[in-house]
C-alpha cells in the first residue's frame, strides 16, 4: 500500500501506526524502488444515447479531473470535450448511454469501441442497464422507428460497469485510477486494482438489468437484506423508503438506474478490499493530490 502511495504522489509515505495487538498485516512492504509512473493511459469518452450527465459527473471531479489528465490519462476521444471526430485506439473506453439498434451509426460505433479499446467501461445507468431508455417504445417523429435501446452489454462484452444515474464522480474517478494501476502499475498495484475492480467486473458479467426489482429478487427474496438503508440513500429519484426497516420501492418512480442494487452491501461485498478501506481511501486521496 505504501509503495502505491509513493509512486502516485512521489512522496515518502509516512509509516502508518500499526496496531500493536493485531497481526492481521501479512507481509512486509516491498522496499524496492519503483519506477516513477510516466506513461499515461489513453482514455476515451464514447457517447451513445445518453444525456451527457455521466460526462458532467466525470467533470465534477473538478481539479481531480485536471490531475487525472495531467498525470494518469490522456483523453484521446470525447466529442464534448475534445476535437476528435473518430474513435481511435485506446486503453479505456468510458461509454455513456445505451444503443439504439435502429440507428446504424450507433451500432457501428459501439462495435468499433469494443475493437479499439482494451477495457470497456459502461458508465452510468443507461450504458449499464438501459435506465430511462428501457421505457422507450418509439413512435416519435422525426425518427419514429427509433424504438429499441439496449444497454451496451447486450451488444458487446463489457469489462466494468458503473451503475447509477448520474454515476458518481468519485466512482468514475476510482475506476480511472484503478484502471491506470491495472495497466501501468507495479505487480502489487495491479493486484490491488484487480481486487478493487473485481466486483464491478462481476457486475458486468451479471447481466444488463438492475432496478428496484433486483433488490427484491437478489437481496430481499434471497434472505439477505438487513435493513441498512443504503438503497434508499442511493436512489436518485427517492423511490425507496423504509417501512418497518425494510425497503419499499415505488416502482412507478424507479428509472432503472441500478444505483440501489449496486450500493447495497448485500449485492456484492469483498472483504479483501473493504477491510483495507482506510488505506485505499488514503491511496486514492494521495493520487488526487
Amino acid at each position: 500500500m505504501q509503495s502505491f502511495k509513493k509512486t502516485l504522489t512521489g512522496e515518502e509515505p509516512k509509516p502508518a501506526a500499526k496496531p500493536a495487538e493485531v497481526k492481521t498485516e501479512k507481509k512486509a512492504e516491498p522496499r524496492k524502488e519503483e519506477k516513477p509512473v510516466a506513461n499515461k493511459i489513453t482514455v476515451g469518452h464514447v457517447h451513445m444515447s445518453g444525456c451527457t450527465g455521466c460526462l458532467v459527473s466525470l467533470a465534477d471531479n473538478y481539479l481531480g479531473l485536471v490531475k487525472i489528465l495531467d498525470d494518469y490519462a490522456d483523453l484521446v476521444y470525447g466529442l464534448t470535450l475534445a476535437d476528435v471526430r473518430h474513435i481511435p485506439e485506446m486503453d479505456v473506453a468510458l461509454v455513456e448511454g445505451s444503443v439504439c439498434i435502429q440507428d446504424h451509426e450507433s451500432v457501428e460505433d459501439i462495435k468499433t469501441t469494443r475493437k479499439k479499446a482494451k477495457v470497456v467501461v459502461a458508465v452510468g445507468g443507461c450504458a449499464s442497464y438501459g435506465n430511462i431508455t428501457r421505457f422507450a417504445r418509439g413512435g416519435q417523429v422525426n425518427q419514429p422507428q427509433h424504438e429499441s435501446f439496449l444497454p451496451i452489454g447486450n451488444l458487446i462484452d463489457v469489462d466494468v460497469v458503473i451503475p447509477g444515474c448520474a454515476p458518481t464522480p468519485q466512482l468514475i474517478r476510482n475506476v480511472c485510477v484503478m484502471a491506470y494501476l491495472l495497466l501501468r502499475g507495479t505487480e502489487e498495484q495491479k493486484a490491488l486494482a484487480g481486487k478493487y475492480l473485481k466486483p464491478l467486473m462481476a457486475l458486468a458479467k451479471r447481466g444488463t438489468t438492475a432496478c428496484f426489482c433486483d433488490l427484491m429478487n437478489d437481496v430481499i427474496n434471497q434472505g439477505l437484506c438487513m435493513g441498512c438503508g443504503s438503497c434508499a440513500a442511493a436512489c436518485p429519484v427517492r423511490a425507496i423508503t423504509h417501512e418497518f426497516g425494510k425497503p419499499q420501492g415505488q416502482r412507478d418512480l424507479c428509472i432503472k438506474c441500478g444505483a440501489c442494487y449496486g450500493q447495497c452491501p448485500r449485492s456484492f461485498y469483498n472483504f479483501e478490499v473493504m477491510d483495507e478501506f482506510e488505506g485505499i481511501l488514503e491511496l486514492i486521496d494521495g493520487a488526487m493530490k
Binding site: D218, M226, C228, S230, A233, G262, F268, E278
Partner: protein
C-alpha cells in the same frame, strides 16, 4: 481465526463521565458521549442516530445536531433502524460536511462501501467524519420485538424501560423495576434472516466500535480502529469525557468478546456455505463473492 476482532489500535473498557448521558445510556454511554463531544468540538456537524419512532421501541433514524437530540436517542432498540438511509441527505439539505453515524457492523460495512464504491453516494465518501460501530449478534424486525416482549416476556412494550441481550439471555426490564429474562433460544426464530449471513460481530469497520460484552455492567468495551477514531478518542480522553481501564484488567475481558465473535462468525459462515447447496442443484446467492 485471528481476524475476528478486526484491525484496531487500542482496546479499552470505558464509561462516560457525564452523569446526564449515563442516566439513560445502554452501557457506558460511549456512543452518545463521543458524538456530544465531537459535536461540541466541531469534529462533526451532526450525527445520524436511532431516536424514538412512531411506535414504542421502534427506532427512527434521524440527524441529531444538538446535544438534546443526541440524548433522546440513547439506549439500544433491538429492531431495524436504517441508519444509512440518511447518509446522503445529511450532505444535502442538511448542508453537512462532517457527518457522524452510529450503526451495527453491517451498517458500518454499508458506510465503507458507500465510501469505496460510491455507486449512488455522490460527494459522500469524504464527508464521513466519525463512524461509531456497535457490536451486534443479531437484530430483529419490529414485530418480533413486540412478540418477544409482549408474548414471551408478558410485559407491555410501552411499559418497558430497557432491553438487554447478554449472558445468554434477552432481558426485559419494566418501568416498575420488574425484569424478565428469556433464554436466547426462544428469540432465535424471530431474528432478522439477513443477520444469518453476517460475518462481523464487533463492527470491524467503525472508526471506533463499542459494545457491552467484555466489560462489567455500566461499562463498555471500546475498540479504537482508525486514525480518525484515534484522534477523536484521544481528544475526548484529554477532555475528561471518559473513565477508562485497560481491557486486560477487566472481567470477562477480550476473551469473551473473541469467543462470541468466533461463535457468530463460524455459525454464519456455515449458513453461507449451506446456501450453496440449498436447493436441488440450486444455490442461494452468496453476497461475498
Amino acid at each position: 481465526m485471528g481476524t475476528e476482532l478486526g484491525k484496531y489500535k487500542v482496546c479499552v473498557s470505558a464509561r462516560s463521565t457525564d452523569k446526564e448521558i449515563m442516566g439513560k445510556a445502554q452501557d457506558g454511554g460511549i456512543v452518545t458521549q463521543l458524538f456530544a463531544f465531537a459535536l461540541e468540538k466541531g469534529i462533526i456537524d451532526g450525527a445520524i442516530v436511532a431516536g424514538p419512532g412512531a411506535r414504542p421501541w421502534q427506532p427512527r433514524p434521524f440527524i441529531a445536531t444538538t446535544r438534546e437530540e443526541l440524548l433522546s436517542a440513547r439506549g439500544t432498540k433491538y429492531n431495524i433502524s436504517p441508519q444509512v438511509s440518511w447518509l446522503k441527505e445529511a450532505t444535502r439539505s442538511f448542508g453537512m460536511d462532517k457527518v457522524g453515524i452510529v450503526g451495527t457492523p453491517c451498517q458500518m460495512q454499508a458506510v465503507r462501501k458507500a465510501q469505496l464504491y460510491p455507486v449512488g453516494m455522490r460527494d459522500v465518501p469524504d464527508k464521513v467524519a466519525l463512524a461509531v460501530g456497535i457490536f451486534c449478534m443479531e437484530n430483529f424486525p419490529y414485530k418480533s420485538i413486540q412478540m418477544i416482549v409482549e408474548d414471551h416476556a408478558g410485559t407491555k412494550l410501552q411499559a418497558t424501560k430497557k432491553m438487554e441481550i447478554g449472558k445468554g439471555k434477552f432481558t426485559v426490564i419494566t418501568e416498575r423495576g420488574a425484569s424478565v429474562a428469556l433464554p436466547l433460544k426462544v428469540t432465535h426464530k424471530y431474528e432478522q434472516p439477513g443477520c444469518h449471513v453476517c460475518l462481523d460481530y464487533v463492527a470491524n469497520l467503525g472508526d471506533i466500535s463499542t459494545g457491552s460484552v467484555g466489560s462489567p455492567d455500566g461499562w463498555s468495551t471500546v475498540f479504537i480502529r482508525t486514525k480518525k477514531g484515534e484522534e477523536t478518542w484521544n481528544k475526548a480522553i484529554a477532555a475528561g469525557c471518559f473513565e477508562t481501564k485497560p481491557i486486560e484488567q477487566v472481567k470477562p475481558g477480550l476473551e469473551l468478546v473473541t469467543k462470541l465473535a468466533n461463535e457468530k462468525i463460524s455459525k454464519n459462515k456455515k449458513t453461507v456455505e449451506e446456501r450453496a447447496t440449498f436447493g436441488v442443484n440450486k444455490a442461494l446467492r452468496n453476497p461475498y463473492l
